[in-house]
Symmetry: D2
Subunit: 499 residues, 4 copies
C-alpha cells in the first residue's frame, strides 16, 4: 500500500543529475541499541547520528519505560532534524532502547512510507518486543506469502517485518527463544538489534556479512553497526559480535552469548572496507582509514602512471588518494572541492542553466588544475555517470591529462545482502571491458585495483582464497555465499559455474 | 505502544478549563465510503468534512487505483487542514475509497497515535482490504488476547483492528465472506464501511446502535454516517442501512443486501437525536432539528417556568430552546454568543487572567440579560462544570434569575458503544438528585426532560416501552442492550436488576 | 514591492465560490491596547481574539519592556494559531502593548505581505513608538508621494504608515505631540491606538466614524475597538472615546483627555450596527444584538409577508430574523445550518463535483423546509451572489416560496473609510431597482429596510435628519462626510448633488 | 526593536559547546547580482549557495519584473532550504536581481530578526532600488543618529540600512548618482551590489577591503563576492572590481566603470586568503587552495618539528596541512574525521552525556593516531576553546605527542570591517604569549606563522611593508586602515602608536 501521509519529500525538487553521491552503492541501514543507561534516547540519537552515512532517508527509535511502556518515534529525514529536540526525546523515556537509520532508495523504487521505517514492534503474549535490522532477507518474498496465507497482517513492505511475524507465530516461551526460532527460518544477511522490556539482543547471520559491535558504557551496554557510534557516546569498544552469535544483554545479568546457528566460515562484506564504513571506524582491529590508504598504496603499485597531482574524488576517495600519493611520491592535492552546505536535494535547474554547466556539489579548483596531469582516485565505479562528469569538469578546467584509479575491482554483480545496487545491465563494468570503459569515459587511462590486490590491502597477504574466499565479494566476483532465492524466483541469473 | 512521532498537538496549549464543548458526551467516529465516481478522494474529503462533528482529532482515507494500488493518508487534525490540498488528493487516486474521522479523546486518556487512525488495511491472499468503524467492540480485549496468542501482530491500540485480524484468519474465499465471519465473532455496536479493490461494503450491528445511510451519486454509491454527508456531495438519500444488514456494492453490480446475523429488534442510540447528529441530518425521515425542537416543546410542557427570555447554550441547545420558546410563548434570544474563531485549544491564561474571568468561547450579551429572568436550555448535563460556569456568567451579567432546562434525562451511566463518557462517579446526575444538583449549581431551578417525554418527542407517542425499549438509552436507564463484557471483566458493575 | 517571503497562504486552495462570507462588506481592522498590567501580551492576545471578526488575515502585537526594549510579532493568520503559545508570548514581555488584526483582502487585490501587518514601529530621537490603526486615510496617496519626495523610505503599502513618517518629521517634543501634529495632516476615518515606552494613546477622528472604547482592568487601562474585547479580559467598560478625542494613558497618571481637532458633529458608521460589530458588543449603551432584533422588527413592520417560517441566513442574519419573527408572529427556525468546522478556505472542487451542488459552509435543513413558505432574513446584499445560491438551495430543498428580507437599505456606494467594498459596478443594488433584483434573484419577493427605518431601529425615532445626518451612511446614501480625495484624483465620481 | 515573529531558531537547541566552527572568525556576508538573463532568481539561488560559507544565518533575494514590479524574499536559514522550490522561485520573476547571505551572529549578540536580512529596498521618486552589502560601515551609529533626527524611520538594526536612507535624502537625479553620494558619506569597508529596474550596480570601498568580482554569463553579467559563485552558474570570470570602483551594468549598455572616490592604495583583507574565501575561488589570479598550501609550506620552514603524521583540523586546515606535509616530508593523514551530516545545531546533551565525552562533529581516528607524534595544522586560534578540545581528543586517543601549527599569526585585535570577532579580552593571543598559550593548551609545542611569512606565502616575496602594508591585517597588527569611529566613540582603545 502506498502511503500518502508524509508527502514532505515531494516539496523538495528531485536531486540534481550530477550528484556524485547518486552513483554509489548504498548501504541500506545502520542499527544501534543500548541498555542500562539513563535517558537511553539521548544515546540512541547520538549513535544514529554517527551512523547517518549508512542511511539518510529515515530513522526510528523505540524505548521502554516502566511507566509509559514502549514508546516509538519514526521520522523521514536526518537524525539531526528529527531526534534532537528535548520535546521529542522527552517522549522517548527509559533506560533501554534501539534505533535504526535507513537508506533513501532512489525515486524509481518509490518513496519509503513512514510505515516501512524500523524498528518494528510486536506485542506477544509474554510482552512486547522491537527489532531493527541491517541486511537483507533473501527468502522474504516466500516467507511473506506463507505468513499472509496463515493470517498475518503485514503493515509494511519491508522484508524485515517477516522476523516479527515469525516471532509472533513461534511457540517459544521467551522472546529471545522466539527470535532464535524466527532467525533460523530466515535466509540472508542480517545484523539485528532487538529489545524486550529489559533485554537488549544482538545477532549476526552465520556468515557475518554485515558488521555489529559491542561496547560498554559505564554500567550499560551498547550495540552498534560501527565503532564510530561507540566513540560518539563515549563507549569503550569491547569486541565485534561473531558471525552466527546471539547476545542477550541486560543491566542485571550483563552479556550472555550463544550460537544458535550451525557454525560456518565468516564471509564479511569486503565493500565495508572500501566504502560503506566510516574511515574513523575500526574493522578487525585496524582503522578503515588506514585500510583505504593501504588500498591506495596497492593501487599505486599495481597501476602506476606518470602525473603531476593525485586528487581524490571527494570525500570517499580521499584516503586511497593519500595512499596512492604516498606510495607514488606524486603530490596529493584537493583539486575538486565539495560544497559542505549541500543538502540531499537542490533546485532542478532549468534547461538553460543546466547547459551552462552548473556544479552544485563539486567544483574544480581551476587555477590548481590548469595544465596539470591529474590522477583521480575514486572508491568505485557503478554506473559511470559521475566519472564522466568529473572528467568533463577536470578537462574543462584545463587539465593536460586525466587518469582514473579506482580503489575497488570492477563492480559487475548486484548485491542482495542489504545494499542498493542498480540492475546488472546498468553497471558500467558489467557491460564493458576496462579498455571499453576507458574509451567510453574519454580518459587517458582507467585502472581498477585487482581483487587479489584488494584482499592484500585489507590484510590477506596471500590474496583471495578462490576455494574458500575470506570475504563476501559477490559484487566483484558473482560468487554469492547465500543463494538469493527470491531473486532467482523472480528471474535473476547467477554466474555460470566456471568449469 | 505510545507513539512519539506526531507531537504536534503537544505544541498547542491545553484546552481552557471553561470550554463548553469539553463537558459533552462525544461521539467517537464518522465513516464515509464511495464507489463508482471519478476522483473518489475529493468526495471523501467533502463527506468527512460534513461529519467532522463526529470526530475532530484525526482523519484517514484509503483509495484504490489499478495503477498505484491501495493508497492511504492518515493525519492528526481537521479534514479542512489535512485533506484539501491538490497535492494530497493527487496522492489518493481512484474511483473507490473510504474515510474515517475520529474523536479527540481527552488528555487523561493519552494522545491518539497516528497508528490508531483508521481506516485499517490488511493484505490477504486474495488481495487487500481496508475497513473503518464507528462504534465500539465490547469483547475487543478478549478477542485481542486470543489473536495475539495465536500470532497476530497488532499495530494499534484500537478495538477496530480486531476485525481485520479476524478477517486475516478466516478461511472465507472472498473478502466479504471473511468480513461476515469476522463480524459474527465481534460483539458490540458497529457501523462499518470497508472496501476491496472493487467493492464497497457497509454493515450495521444487529441492534443498529450507530447510524449508517446509503446514497446515490450519479452512477456511483455512497455510504455515510449521516445524511448531511450525502447533501455535501450532492448525493440523493436512498435509505438507512437496516440493523444487521450488510451491503456489498460495486460499480458493475450495484447494491447487494443480505443479513448475516440473527434478526433482532432495533435499538438505535437515542442520543443521536439529542446531540450527536447534525441538526440538518435526517433520522427516520424527520430532520434532527425538528426532533430537537419537539424535545424543547415537550420540555416546556413538562417543566414550565415564568421568565422573560429563553436562551440556548450555544450551539447545540438552540433548536430545543426555540421549541421551548414556541411552546411557552416566552421570547427566544441569543443571550450567549459563541466566538466563531475559536479553535479547539487556546492560550492557557495565567492565574491572574483566569481570575479576572476570561471567556474565550462564550460571552454573555450583558445589555440584553441585565435584570431579566432567564431560561437556559442545554442539551445535556455531564459533569456539570459548564453549567456552573454559564450560570456564573449569566448572574454576573445581572440576570434576575436563572432556570436551567435540559433537553435530555439525567445522564447517569457510561456509554460503551462508541461514545466517550466520563467514569460513572464523574457524572453529576449519578451522584446527586435533581434537587441536589439545583442547589449545587446555585440556580433558581433545574429540570430535565423525562425519559418518556424524550421518547414522545422522538416520535414514540406512547413513550418508552419498558419491556422492550425502542432505543438504546443505557446512558439514562442503565439498561445495556449489549453486555459490555470487557468492562465487566475489568470490574464495571451494571445496574442491580429491578425486582 | 511584492513580498515572496510568506507564501504559506499559497498552499491553501482558493476559497470556494459559494462562500457566503465572501459576499459581505468587510471591516478592515480591529485594535487593542493595554497599559499597567503584568504580561500585557496575554491580554492583547485575548482582546485580538475577541476582535477577530474585524480582521482574519493577519495580526500583530508590540510590547515594551525595560529589559528587552520594544518587541514585535507579526503573523499571517488567526490569533488562535499565532499568539497562543507560551513561547511566542514569552518573546513579548512587558506591561504595555498594542495589537491589531487585519482583514483578508480578496485575491484580486493581492496578498498582504507581512510587512503590511500593523502595528508599525518607528524610532524617534526621543524614543520609539508603535501605532495601529482602524479606518482609512483618504489623502494617503498624496501624503505618501510628498513624504517620499522628501526622503522617507516606506516599508509597506499601507496607508497607515504615513502617520509614523509624519511623526518622524514632526518637530514636536514628545511623541503624543508628534502624533497630534501627524493626525492633523491626515484626512479620513481613524481610530488609532499607539504606545510609547510608558504611554498608551488612543484617538478617534473628528467624526468618530470607527468605534473605540475605554475599559479599566484592575489598576490598568484598556483601549479596544469593541466592548466584547473588554469582556474577554474581564475589564470594566468605562466609556466610548469621543469623536475627535485623544487619550494619553499611563500607569502613573491615568487617563488624560484632550481634543486636538476642531469639534464637529459625530457621524458614526451605521453599518457597525448592521453587521460589523459583534452582537454581544454594546454601542451607545445598547447591545448590538438588541439593535439588530429591533431592525428585524422594523423590517417586519415595513415589509410583512404571509409565510410559514422565518429563517436567518446564518450567522449574521440571526438577530434580525428573531426580531422579524417576534414582530410578525411567524415561527423562527434554523432552516440553514452552518458547518462550524469550516476554515477560511477549502478544497476547490473539480468541475464535476461543483455541478453536483457541493455545499461546504451551509446546508439546508431539507426535511424542515420542504413545502414551506420561507422568509429568509439577511443583513445585507452586496454582489448578490450569495443570495442567489441560497435561494437555489432553499428551492431545491422543496420550499413552496422564498421571500428575502434585508436588514439594511440597498448598498449602492463604496465605503472609503476602512471597509472593503467592491467597485460600484459590482454592487447589485447600484445596477438594479428592487423589482429588477427580485426578478434577477428569482425570488417571490425581496424587500430592504428603508434608510429611515434603519435610523429608527438604531435609536433615532425621527429617522434620518437629511440636513445633518446623525450617522455616516455613505454606502446607502452616497453622502460622504469626508471627501475621498485620493479616490477622486483616481477618477471616482461622487453622487451628483441633489438640486 | 526585537522581533518575535520568527522564533523558529528557538526550537533548535543551542549549538554544542564543542563545535569547532564556533571558534572561528566569521565573515559576515556574501553578495551576488545578475542582469540580462532570464529567470534571474535561479542564478541568484545558485550563486548564494556557492557563497553560503560567507553567511549561514539568513538569505534574501530581490528581483524586478515589469509585470510584478520588485519582488522580495527574505528567510532565516540556508539557501538550499529556502530558495530551491519552484514555488518560491516563481514568486521572484525577472531578468535582474540581487541576493545576500548573512552570517549567524552568536547568541550573545541577539538573534537576527527577519527585518535585518538584506537586500534592503527603498522607493524613491524616480523608482525603486535594492541594495546588499558585504562589509561594515564604521560611522553607522553617527549616521543613523543624524538620519533619525532628520525624520528617517529605520526598519532594521543593520548598519547597511543607512545607505538606503542616505540615498533617499540625496538630491541626485538618478539612482546611481544617489548611491554615489550616499557612499561618499559612508566610512568603512564595503562591497555593495545594488539594482534598479534595469541596472545592476557594484561598488568597492576605496581600500577594497572586501572582495567583489565580475563575470559574464552569455549576454548577461554577474557580480559576486567570490569566483566560486561564477563557477556554479557557469559564468566566465572577467576581473575583480577595483578598490574604489563603481560599475553600472545594464543589458543594453554593458558595463560602465568609474571611480567616485579619491584613489588610495589597496588594503585587501589578508584573512580572506587564510580562511574566509573558499579554496576553489581565485584571488589575484591564484587559487586560494594553493595560497593555503603555500602558507603550510612556509609554516613548515618557519616551525619544523619531528613527528610521524601531519593532520589537519578539518576542513579548513586541510590545504595548509598538505603544504606542511609536502615541505616537511612527514606523511599527511586524516587523523580527525568530520561528520558530514552535522547541521548547525544538535542536541544539547545532558550533563551526564557531556561528561562521557560526546563528539558530534569531529571524531578521532583512534587506531591511526595511537602512539604517533602528531602535528595538527589549523588555520587560526581565536578563543582557543577548540584547540583545547582537539588536543584532548588526540591525547585521549593515545597520541605520543601533539604539536600545533597555526596557518596565521596570532589574532590579537578585533576586526571592524565586516567580520564577527570576539571582544579583545576573549582572544587567546591577546592575553598570552606563545609560551603561555603552549602551557595553557597543554601541547608539546605551538607555533604560529609570522606576519612576514604570511605575506610571503600570499605572494609578497619581500614580506610586509611596515610603512605601507599591502593588506589589511588589523586583526594581527592592530594597524587599522580605516578609523573605527563608532567603536572609538563607544570606548574602544586602539594600539598605542609605536614610538
Amino acid at each position: 500500500m502506498r502511503n500518502a501521509s508524509h508527502p514532505a519529500p515531494a516539496k523538495s525538487l528531485p536531486s540534481h543529475p550530477f550528484d556524485p553521491d547518486d552513483d554509489k552503492l548504498k548501504e541500506e541501514c545502520g542499527v544501534f541499541g543500548v541498555v542500562g543507561v539513563s535517558q537511553a534516547s539521548n544515546f540512541i540519537a547520538l549513535g544514529l547520528h554517527a551512523l547517518q552515512h549508512r542511511g539518510q532517508e529515515a530513522g526510528g527509535v523505540v524505548t521502554y519505560d516502566s511507566t509509559t511502556g514502549f514508546n516509538q518515534a519514526r521520522r523521514m529525514g536526518l537524525v539531526r532534524d528529527n531526534f534532537t529536540s528535548a520535546e521529542t526525546l522527552a517522549l522517548l523515556p527509559g533506560n533501554i532502547g534501539i534505533g535504526h537509520v535507513r537508506y533513501s532508495t532512489a525515486g524509481s523504487k518509490g518513496q519509503t512510507a513512514i510505515r516501512d521505517v524500523q524498528p518494528f514492534f510486536g506485542e506477544f503474549s509474554m510482552g512486547g518486543a522491537a527489532i531493527a535490522h541491517n541486511g537483507n532477507i533473501t527468502n522474504a518474498v516466500a516467507l511473506r506469502r506463507e505468513l499472509i496465507e496463515r493470517g498475518s497482517i503485514f503493515q509494511s513492505s519491508s522484508d524485515s517485518e517477516c522476523i516479527i511475524h515469525l516471532m509472533a507465530r513461534s511457540m517459544g516461551r521467551t522472546i529471545p527463544d522466539r527470535m532464535e526460532e524466527a532467525l533460523r527460518k530466515v535466509e540472508g544477511a542480517f545484523s539485528v538489534v532487538a529489545m524486550t522490556r529489559s533485554k537488549l539482543i544482538g545477532c549476526r547471520d552465520p556468515l557475518g556479512v554485515r558488521p555489529l559491535v559491542l561496547g560498554q558504557l559505564g554500567d550499560g551496554w551498547v550495540l552498534a553497526s560501527e565503532t564510530c557510534a561507540l566513540d560518539i557516546v563515549g563507549a569503550d569498544f569491547i569486541r565485534e559480535i561473531e558471525p552466527g552469535e546471539m547476545l542477550v544483554i541486560s543491566a542485571e545479568d550483563g552479556v550472555q552469548s550463544h550460537f544458535p546457528f550451525r557454525r560456518r566460515k565468516s564471509r564479511f562484506c569486503i565493500f565495508e572496507h572500501v566504502y560503506f564504513s566510516r574511515p574513523d571506524s575500526s574493522l578487525g582491529g585496524r582503522s578503515v582509514y588506514e585500510t583505504r590508504e593501504a588500498i591506495g598504496r596497492e593501487l599505486a603499485k599495481e597501476a602506476p602512471v606518470d602525473a603531476d597531482l593525485v586528487c581524490p574524488v571527494p570525500d570517499s576517495g580521499t584516503p586511497a588518494a593519500i595512499g596512492y600519493s604516498l606510495e607514488s611520491g606524486i603530490p596529493f592535492a584537493m583539486g575538486i572541492v565539495r560544497n559542505q552546505y549541500m543538502g540531499r536535494t537542490f533546485i532542478e535547474p532549468s534547461e538553460q542553466i543546466r547547459n551552462m554547466g552548473v556544479r552544485l556539489k563539486l567544483n574544480v579548483n581551476r587555477a590548481l588544475i590548469q595544465g596539470k596531469r591529474v590522477i583521480l582516485v575514486d572508491d568505485s565505479v557503478v554506473r559511470g555517470t559521475t566519472s564522466q562528469k568529473i572528467k568533463e569538469m577536470i578537462l574543462e578546467a584545463g587539465a593536460a591529462s586525466v587518469h582514473f584509479r579506482i580503489a575497488s575491482p570492477p563492480t559487475v554483480w548486484p548485491c542482495f545482502y542489504g545494499v542498493d545496487t542498480p540492475e546488472r545491465e546498468k553497471l558500467l563494468a558489467a557491460r564493458m571491458t576496462e579498455a571499453e570503459m576507458t574509451a567510453h569515459l574519454g580518459v587517458d587511462s582507467l585502472k581498477f585495483i585487482s581483487l587479489d590486490g584488494l584482499y592484500r590491502a585489507v590484510g590477506e597477504p596471500g590474496g583471495r582464497d578462490p576455494k574458500s574466499p575470506q570475504y563476501c565479494d559477490a559484487c566483484f566476483s558473482g560468487d554469492y555465499p547465500i543463494v538469493p532465492s527470491d531473486k532467482i524466483e523472480a528471474g535473476f541469473k547467477t554466474k555460470e559455474p566456471a568449469e
